[in-house]
């Protein structure tokens, strides 16, 4: 493996350096029908799950075929996407905010060959490469974080639970039978680098044990003041500890103050907190970001803990499927999951979904907690 230089000289990093140029400009990548009709679209219609038509003032039409996929993607897979775009779409494509791929064509007769081509492609293991769907009142692709594939503080995996959940919800991805859209998101720890706190259903990884202290190495590997400052609840103090007859500088953690965020571990690798029994999943529901009918809402915790069960997280996917089915059967047309829960009352939501209510589900974290308690005699038995 010989090193191949691009021309960069490590001794002179500033030589010919190009910086601050930003991304490529969006309009370089617009398909011609988009470039021509930008800002002049009249209306759209969903022709079937995964297929949209947008009609412009000029009478031009653009047909979009949306397909799902794993956001974790190899260059081989991307090259296959390019091959499809070259074959059907003159080399243009786009991705959506929720990790779907959209192929656009400018006439209706090009739609069926494209859909057929996409649906015919399968991985060796048997799964679809490009399942068409994810529009309208379907359950579209899950947005998520890295998990065990790449992150240092996850409390669960991301790609694994997402694949398992989408397998269970696949029928919903391919159909328009829900009362309204339902968005599922996953973040693999409470720091939520993928902000999932306003999702209809949020799958959240959560640690439940404070960090383990590697006293022997702590002062060698970490700067203690930085570890202390990293803690959002001020649970970490400097401490002298006895180790094999020696007094060592280290830290002490006030366990009852620890919120299990792992921020100390980021600053100090001698404070790991992952744990097979301690880590697992929290389910939150009823959030939304749209301003449609009601204001945007935060998701609420309805299941405090489900253990990690790789490779397919059956308890997690079962709990999600159950809530989805209850929502499908009971909500009004256009009503989001959170709107439904508020209309019937959360006591009824727990009833219908057969969920147990425990003390973990009553907010006790700082000021906002008070606003979640019931301050009326209006409740249901």
């Amino acid at each position: 493996m010989a090193f191949v230089s691009t021309g960069y000289d490590p001794k002179e990093p500033m030589k010919d350096r190009i910086t601050d140029i930003g991304p490529r400009k969006y309009d370089e990548f617009y398909p011609p029908v988009i470039a021509k009709n930008k800002g002049k679209w009249l209306y759209h219609e969903v022709l079937e799950p995964g297929v949209l038509v947008h009609v412009a003032e000029s009478g031009d039409e653009v047909y979009t075929v949306r397909c799902g996929g794993a956001r974790l993607m190899s260059v081989t897979h991307i090259r296959e996407i390019c091959e499809i775009a070259d074959k059907h779409c003159d080399g243009y494509l786009r991705f959506t905010t929720r990790n779907n791929i959209e192929f656009m064509v400018d006439s209706k007769d090009k739609v069926k060959p494209l859909v057929d081509d996409l649906e015919s492609r399968k991985f060796d293991g048997g799964s679809y490469k490009f399942p068409v769907g994810g529009t309208g009142t379907s359950i579209t692709n899950i947005v998520h974080t890295q998990g065990w594939i790449h992150c240092h503080t996850p409390a669960t995996d991301a790609s694994g639970p997402v694949k398992a959940t989408m397998d269970v919800l696949f029928d919903y991805f391919k159909s328009h039978k829900m009362p309204a859209k339902l968005r599922v998101s996953l973040a693999c720890c409470l720091n939520m680098c993928g902000a999932v706190h306003c999702s209809d259903i949020a799958i959240l990884g959560y640690h439940r044990k404070p960090p383990i202290l590697d006293h022997e190495y702590l002062d060698k590997m970490c700067e203690i003041p930085l570890a202390i400052a990293a803690c959002p609840t001020a649970a970490i103090k400097p401490a002298k500890v006895e180790f094999e007859g020696q007094k060592l500088n280290s830290v002490a953690v006030k366990n009852e103050r620890c919120m299990f965020c792992g921020n100390c571990y980021t600053m100090c690798p001698s404070m790991p907190l992952s744990d097979q029994e301690g880590d697992g999943i929290v389910l939150m529901v009823g959030g939304k970001v749209s301003n449609r009918i009601s204001a945007p809402k935060f998701s609420k915790v309805v299941v405090a803990f489900i253990p990690n069960e790789p490779p397919r997280w059956p308890k997690t996917t079962e709990a999600i499927k159950n809530m989805v089915e209850k929502y499908e059967a009971n909500a009004n047309k256009y009503e989001r999951l959170g709107e439904w829960a508020e209309r019937i009352g959360w006591e009824r939501f727990f009833d219908i979904c057969g969920l147990e209510f425990t003390h973990h589900l009553i907010d006790d974290f700082r000021d906002p907690a008070y606003y979640t308690w019931r301050q009326t005699t209006q409740f249901k038995f």
Binding site: A2, F3, T6, G7, Y8, P13, T19, D20, I21, G22, P23, K25, Y26, E28, I34, G39, W41, E45, P49, G68, A70, R71, M73, S74, V75, I78, G91, Y92, R94, F95, T97, F123, G125, S127, Y128, P131, G136, Q146, I149, H150, C151, H152, G160, M166, S175, H176, K177, N191, C193, A195, C261, T266, P269, Q276, D279, V289, P296, R312, K333, Y334
Partner: protein, 437 residues
């Protein structure tokens, strides 16, 4: 023959949803075969080792990655996240496995020649594994060695005219919805504004001088498809301030059943015949719609632009013509003091190049936050700590009732001296003339 046995991951190859495991295996096989005869710059079996280390995490229920903070490209404080495997002897291919964030194009439109160039670069110099895309919006290159970072950056900038994205205490890579490019609801050019501000604030994006992360997101209408209102320190959400356009003939077509409501996206279930009263008029949050002599009427002054009626009847109703955007500020995920939704700061501003009015708001907020923000305090938390009034003061925006859900619940108003007639300094002797000790 696979390098590592992966019995647990193998179970994620079945089922209909695209399997990332199958994709990783396909990439491992591709690297082993090396059809283009590349001089791979990181180990050939890197993808085998990704599968191996992930299988080990599935077995242990714990991650095997360590964080690294120093690596980056010269002069930038963002765009690279350091990663090391905690079992480097078992998985030497991923011992050093850093992430690079590449700033995605607006609304994630691509041409295949550009995407192929990125693939070729990443194939040669990295793992060949990506995220399309990361949560913030970047193209994520997942896993390379330190010595490749500068080489990749060099080719990105020199050959492909392409820069890295943000991380750390920087402006994060801004992201936008598809907007006017293909959506009739878009009230401004989201790509135009997103690109303009991204270019304008390159220094803020690459060189950290903020107390913490800062996010811009651009939604073309109140449907908020990029979730700006929930996760951006500044969300720019399209809106209008005149009347919803009505095509009465199309209204009749919906009522008569010739057109399917909600752009036909409830089609796989029988919801019965469309009922405009029940499905539109009664669900209007401000009750500002009614039928009169067979015509749909809207009292636009009372409309709060929730989009429901337009979403249900896109061929009959149109967003207004006097368009611009609202700016909401301070949204963030729950860490640490709880989640915050964006709060309305600017109800309406026109969004026209060169966007001077918008940039003035941004820069006033940044000056305040950079001076007053505590380390790792998001803008939303500073607003809470110092008060909404303080933000109005630094931005020079006039208080208005649109800023609140409802007026305050307590009378504890911190009057300022210049607001009270005669000021705070008073003569005690004058007082005592009328009030004994």
């Amino acid at each position: 023959m696979a390098k590592h046995e992966t019995p647990m991951l193998d179970q994620l190859e079945s089922g209909p949803w695209p399997s990332f495991v199958s994709d990783l295996k396909q990439e491992a096989a591709n690297r082993a075969a090396n059809p283009n005869n590349l001089e791979y710059q990181i180990p050939v079996d890197v993808v085998e080792d990704i599968l191996g280390v992930l299988e080990l995490s599935f077995k242990h229920g714990r991650t095997h990655w360590k964080h690294g903070g120093i690596v980056g490209v010269f002069g930038y404080g963002g765009g690279v996240i350091g990663r090391y495997c905690d079992q480097p002897e078992m998985f030497p291919g991923v011992a050093h496995f850093h992430t690079m964030r590449v700033n995605q194009p607006g609304a994630k439109f691509y041409k295949t020649d550009f995407l192929r160039n990125l693939c070729d670069l990443w194939d040669l110099r990295g793992s060949g594994i990506t995220n399309m895309h990361g949560s913030t919006g970047d193209i994520i290159f997942l896993g390379t060695r330190t010595e490749q970072l500068e080489e990749i950056f060099y080719d990105l900038t020199h050959k492909y005219n392409q820069d890295l994205g943000g991380s750390g205490s920087n402006l994060r890579t801004p992201a936008d919805c598809i907007g006017q490019a293909r959506c009739e609801y878009a009230c401004y050019d989201t790509q135009g504004l997103c690109y303009h501000l991204t270019q304008e604030y390159q220094d803020e994006l690459h060189r950290p001088a903020f107390p913490y992360k800062f996010k811009f997101k651009f939604d073309g209408c109140p449907n908020c498809c990029v979730a700006s209102i929930a996760r951006a320190d500044m969300s720019f959400i399209g809106t209008w301030r005149d009347n919803i356009g009505i095509d009465q003939e199309a209204v009749q077509a919906y009522i008569g059943g010739e057109l399917n409501p909600n752009a036909n996206d409830h089609g796989d279930r029988d919801w019965g015949a469309f009922d405009i009263q029940k499905e539109v008029i009664d669900l209007c949050p401000t009750e500002c719609m009614w039928m009169e002599d067979g015509k749909l009427m809207i009292d636009d002054k009372e409309c709060n632009r929730c989009m429901h009626c337009i979403n249900v009847m896109p061929r009959a109703l149109r967003i207004g013509q006097d368009r611009g955007l609202s700016i909401l500020v301070g949204a963030k995920a729950p860490i640490l003091d709880g989640a915050q939704m964006g709060s309305l700061l600017v109800p309406f501003v026109k969004a026209e190049d060169p966007y001077d009015e918008i940039k003035e708001v941004i820069e006033n907020l940044w000056d305040w936050w950079m001076e007053e923000g505590k380390n790792r305090e998001r803008l939303g938390e500073l607003i809470k700590r110092q008060g909404f009034q303080k933000m109005l003061e630094v931005t020079g925006i006039k208080p208005m009732v649109q800023h609140v859900q409802e007026p305050r619940h307590n009378p504890y108003i911190f009057w300022k001296e210049d607001e009270v007639e005669g000021g705070f300094d008073r003569d005690i002797n004058e007082f005592r003339k009328h009030h004994q000790r």
